[in-house]
Symmetry: C2
Subunit: 494 residues, 2 copies
């Protein structure tokens, strides 16, 4: 009896706190970012549309869940990173970080618009070559290069292979020698405030300087580049300036002490997506336990690709101009900022579940996409739109769970939405960075990917079938697949 | 200058703290669990061996990384969960949680030893049927059942379909009616202290009771089971007893108030792996920042499958015996406790990287397996063994990173190991639960899986090839794959 009273009291207190938390949310906190930011329009019963195509309708054709790539947004971002600097007309050379969203259809689209390939594994190098990217448009990075892939890279005369750490330099030198040609290489350094750990050689303490000395001493290596990747996201002019300043100062040191005139300054990636921000620990807690809505980021607080690229060029030009030295080529390797906001994941409600006791939790809606496909949405703000019910007033707060049997599989602990029914669809925005590469086939096959271009949807990748999931398994032994199994995959491919 | 002094001081202080942390580690903290616990033996230069097979040698045949399944351990665990209770000879009926390690070769091996299938998605239901599991050996659970899969389940007369939440009951009733047969169903309830959220109907507050009433009122449903899954891991007799007691008390309530004689009590899974424990927040911090070694769990602190199964049976028998009622069938749905410790992930060192400045970080070793394949090792203690260098004294503390370009890709922040060279191999133990289903193809293809049985290794799943990674992509357009690409996949399959 005492237990029941305690339980009841706890639930009432929690409910009261939740009401308070909702009421005390910052003004405008429940205001969503407008769909027009992603070129989405609202067309009555057809719900949200991209280029006139109903997202809900796309699910009926291609199955749910579904990744939808917006070709126009991709073209826009590709051009923005290559914005010429007023005056000199100089542009950044852009190498897309393959790991961020390695969909061949997306990669080819970028390559056709002047973007090269930044690869970090033997597979990604293979993929770039398979997609027809010329060796002189490929940069090879990362701490995990195989010797075989280095032979391939040096043998083909890749544009640039950056040593991730000092220990790679003698390996590079030996393999280049074996290939009988001088390899074009750089060294990745760590500027103060950037990622370290397994990545790069720190400028502080002189390690990076000694690594350059060692590389310059190897006859088989042509040291053409200084490579730095901040890792920690860049949002503001101040963050960009500090990072670029540190790289330029180290380039000056290499010039002054070693006489090194670098052909390339490679500034890596790290530019943030304006509409995506990490969810802070306190905000997450308020969202999870008190169902307080998340605050969308202010998109203007983050540098756009245009401003980032032109600011970077301006800093480099001014630096070398003031010293009367030739301006090096400026490389950038954007990932999330190039593709993040060009793709959305559209999912369906499988079922709803009422909250315990009305007060001990929000109602749940279980979606057909969860942490298996949208891990990013658990840690970062990603705008969510109801698709077919867009425009209906929010009726209640839902906890949106995914389909895999883990309590961790909650994408949105508290989202104010119209009343949902099974079959309704929702769109998770900015799914073009680290959604596809972090996807798993946990209990559910992976979805199809389509590209919308000029009002037409084209299949880039078909959905995994049940058979695909076991295609590599050799363990069926003597029992053949039974012809009586009638379960079909619920997509257009079935 | 001041910055340099500050940096130097910080590094010295950190180094001193690390020395202190290592020295003040609990006695025996660096002692590893013995390889014999996993039937591994040490054979000189051949390193660690399973059934006489050198693990390092297996990599040479099948490529690295490699999952190695121990058939004898699997057989042992399957038998242990089915240990007969002294006296009555009653056994638990075991339904393996497919989601935990859905490798067809492993599943078939278990099915051949009397274990049924517990599935939580349309794909897993399809897989069980494809593996030839008879419908009367399949339990279908989870919050994400499609209507099509329910038609399949009811049409075939599945042993048991558990409603995850109340809203599923009318859907079950309608589909069973359409199938023209009574469906054997249960209702998943939440006992105090168990998972809630999207899972189950709470006993507290009367929701579970009302759900049973609703199910009993549906002519097309035959209510045969009460289903409960603790979720939070069970390690001790006390935890088991409390959980079972709550389920039995609710079964009594159903009997007393509704006259319901249940055919089945389904106690779900949740038994822990004796050699795996979550890493606490403080321990993780000490490990990450001060390189203090993790403390291995004491395996005896966790119930073995034999003790768990017999204790459970004893509680149920005693409960019903005391009331003079017929003892129901006892179902368990083990996942991690059945396969977790029957599989290891063997990986190679790709490269090493010296720590910054000697004091600002441990040396790094970059492995060919990281968070893409062994996410579990980032949150739980998993015993790590050097394989080819087993027996050499620990020479230094390494930070073991994976191959994907993320600072999060660190599996072991601080592991005391012999001096490592590229090509050396390491084994991550207890990889048979939630490693394979949470695996991604992030920048690197997924590895092969072999089973070792009676001194022979058999391929269960071949490694993904580069071509496999793009097999579903339709976006090559007019440019065919170029015949000049020579990069091969570095496995035996190439």
């Amino acid at each position: 009896m005492l237990g029941r009273v305690k339980g009841y009291t706890k639930r009432r207190v929690k409910a009261a706190l939740r009401t308070w938390a909702r009421r005390s949310a910052p003004a405008g906190a429940t205001a969503e970012l407008p769909p027009s930011r992603w070129r989405l329009t609202h067309d009555g019963a057809r719900g949200l549309c991209l280029d006139g195509l109903s997202l809900h309708g796309l699910l009926e054709v291609w199955g749910s869940p579904l990744h939808v790539v917006d070709a126009a947004a991709l073209a826009h971002n590709a051009a923005a990173f290559q914005t010429p600097l007023a005056g000199s007309g100089r542009r950044c050379e852009v190498y897309y970080s393959y790991k961020t969203n390695p969909i061949p259809g997306v990669l080819r689209f970028l390559h056709d618009r002047g973007v090269g390939a930044e690869v970090i594994s033997p597979y990604e190098l293979w993929l770039a070559m398979r997609l027809g990217v010329p060796p002189e448009r490929i940069v090879y990075n990362g701490p995990a290069k195989s010797e075989e892939s280095l032979r391939e890279a040096f043998g083909r005369g890749l544009l640039l292979v950056n040593a991730n750490h000092r220990e790679e330099i003698p390996v590079f030198a030996r393999i280049a020698r074996e290939c009988g040609r001088r390899a074009r290489v750089g060294v990745r350094v760590v500027a103060p405030g950037g990622w370290a750990g397994q990545f790069g050689v720190p400028i502080a303490g002189g390690q990076a300087f000694r690594a350059f000395q060692e590389a310059l001493a190897a006859d088989s290596l042509e040291v053409v580049a200084l490579h730095a990747h901040r890792g920690i996201q860049i949002r503001t002019v101040e963050e960009l300036d500090a990072f670029v300043g540190a790289v330029l100062a180290f380039a000056d040191e290499l010039h002054a002490r070693l006489g090194l005139e670098l052909e390339i300054l490679d500034f890596g990636g790290s530019l943030a997506i304006p509409t995506v921000t990490p969810i802070g620990a306190r905000e997450r807690r308020m969202n999870q336990t008190l169902l307080r809505p998340l605050t969308p980021p202010s998109p203007d607080a983050t540098l756009s690709p245009e401003r980032y690229a032109t600011r970077l060029l301006k800093l480099v030009e001014a630096h070398y101009g003031a010293r009367g030295r030739e301006v090096p080529r400026v490389f950038v390797e954007p990932g999330r900022a190039l593709t993040g906001n060009t793709q959305m994941l559209v999912a369906r409600v499988l079922t709803t579940k009422e909250g315990s006791d009305g007060a001990d939790g929000a109602d749940h809606a279980v979606l057909d996409a969860g942490m298996n496909l949208a891990e990013g949405a658990r840690h970062e703000f990603h705008q969510l739109f109801p698709v077919n019910r867009y425009g209906e007033p929010p009726a209640q707060t839902y906890t949106l769970a995914g389909p895999i049997c883990s309590p961790a599989d909650v994408l949105y602990p508290a989202a104010a939405l119209p009343a949902l029914r099974p079959g309704d669809s929702l769109a998770i925005m900015d799914a073009g960075a680290y959604f596809v590469p972090f996807a798993t086939s946990f209990s559910f096959p992976q979805p199809a990917i389509v590209m919308v271009q000029n009002g037409t949807a084209t299949l880039l990748r078909r959905a995994e079938s049940f058979d695909d999931q076991v295609a590599l398994d050799t363990a069926y032994g003597s029992r053949p697949p039974r012809g009586t199994v009638a379960l079909r995959l619920a997509t257009a491919e079935s």
